[in-house]
């Protein structure tokens, strides 16, 4: 698939282009896999795993592949800034969300596997016990 796309391009690819293709292709693959995990895994805590995959492997590899294509040093600095920021904010967000979910009544130890379809609402969803 990827090689077919590459052969239709005019001219030979440089080494930087090969590295960019590898990094960005892998990043998009990991991001897509994380999205499928968010869509298919049961329960909010296992879906956080997919979100973490998008944040680390997906965005990390995509921005690394863009760094190879950068022509000015400031572009690389900006991409590194985005990577460093996401590196710190992604676990923080997941931590806060996990604590909020536990506080909100979602039991991490419960088996969230749906019987037939993940679409029907979990019983923990609509508890109005919180003020």
């Amino acid at each position: 698939m990827m090689e077919a796309v590459l052969q239709t391009m005019a001219g030979p690819l440089t080494v930087a282009d090969w590295i960019s293709w590898f990094c960005i292709g892998s990043g998009v693959f990991f991001a897509f896999t994380g999205a499928v995990a968010i869509l298919r895994l049961p329960g909010v805590f296992s879906r956080m795993h997919g979100a973490g995959m998008i944040d680390t492997m997906g965005l990390g590899l995509i921005l690394t592949g863009l760094m190879v294509q950068a022509e000015e040093p400031i572009v690389i600095v900006k991409l590194a800034l985005i990577l460093a920021f996401v590196f710190f904010t992604s676990p923080t967000t997941t931590f806060a969300l996990a604590r909020a979910a536990i506080h909100g009544g979602v039991d991490p130890a419960a088996d969230p596997t749906p019987k037939a379809d993940p679409a029907p609402a979990q019983p923990e969803e609509t508890d109005p016990s919180r003020t």
Binding site: V5, M9, D17, S20, W21, I24, G25, G27, V28, A31, F32, G34, A35, V36, I38, L39, V44, R47, M48, G50, A51, I54, D55, G58, L59, I62, L63, G65, L66, Q69, A70, E71, E72, K78, L79, L81, I82, F85, V86, T89, S90, T92, T93, F95, A96, L97, R99, A100, A101, H103, G104, V106, P118, A119, P120, Q122, E124, E125, R130, T131
Partner: protein, 99 residues
Amino acid sequence: MTLFSAAAVGILATLALVMVRAVAGPTVFDRILAVNAAGTLTVGLIAVYGFLDGRPDFLDIALLYALINFIGTIAVTKYVKFRDLGHPARSPQAEEGDV
């Protein structure tokens, strides 16, 4: 360029999958998680579009979007947990932390 176009299309497909979970998520935490992931993917999409358009200055917007995405997610999470954004740090529930 073909590389950036393919990356943009892949990120858009990923965004579509994530937004399905944001709409259909059973609990509000699933929706917050999906919207946060969508924001992260939007950062990547803005960066890729900057390169696709030949103007990497778009990275400033991507950096700002990452910041706002983090602050917004934390704010929404705090609001869902405490039902109040002005919740004091020390409260009857203070042993569980502020965030």
